[in-house]
Symmetry: C2
Subunit: 119 residues, 2 copies
């Protein structure tokens, strides 16, 4: 695992899953623990490239995970423990959510050394 805020993605093309959500506020501790576990689990899926996640004071959370191809995304969504977490998410944690699967065509930017450092 890395504690970097930014994902170190390869040259495009690759895929992004944009997950936008707003919480009910219910069972926050359980949500937090499950979120950490999902990040750990995703890291073991072949084709996982990295993840960027944040939640602001406005209650909106945005998590973008990056993937080599559609097959790796399918493998992640077929994972049984992930399926169970998705179910709990829909039932308990998310008032609203949206998932968008997108193909990254180009990227650019500037990262200082620390931001992209892997542990």
């Amino acid at each position: 695992m890395s504690d970097a805020l930014f994902a170190s993605t390869p040259a495009p093309p690759y895929f992004a899953v944009i997950f936008t959500s707003r919480h009910t506020g219910s069972k926050a501790d359980e949500y937090q623990a499950t979120g950490q576990r999902m990040i750990e689990l995703a890291g073991h899926v072949d084709g996982f490239l990295g993840l960027e996640t944040t939640r602001g004071e406005n209650g909106l959370g945005i998590t973008v995970s990056y993937w080599r191809d559609e097959d790796s995304i399918q493998a992640w969504y077929a994972n049984l423990e992930h399926k169970s977490a998705q179910h709990r998410g829909r039932e308990q944690w998310y008032r609203d959510y949206r998932v968008r699967v997108a193909r990254v065509e180009r990227d650019y930017g500037y990262l200082s050394d620390r931001a992209a450092k892997k542990d």
Copy 2:
């Protein structure tokens, strides 16, 4: 303008610009005002479909803007006031940033009435 947290995007395909950033902490008020102005300005660009933005306590900000096509993204990046803001962003506000342009292939989710309501 809408104060909805979620963007009301049409059926795919459409485009997403994923902007991930970390602040220097410098000139926060000026940054805030410019950010608001940019959201207002983007709303006037033909092909703009909406925006989702949040910044967490970890300092990471993620803003995803949605666009009809590559041409509308190009028009937005060619806007002179936006160009000037981008320049100030690189010079003053962002320690790190990354821009990814992606084609949304599919989306799904659940939005309660309020989340997607336009004002």
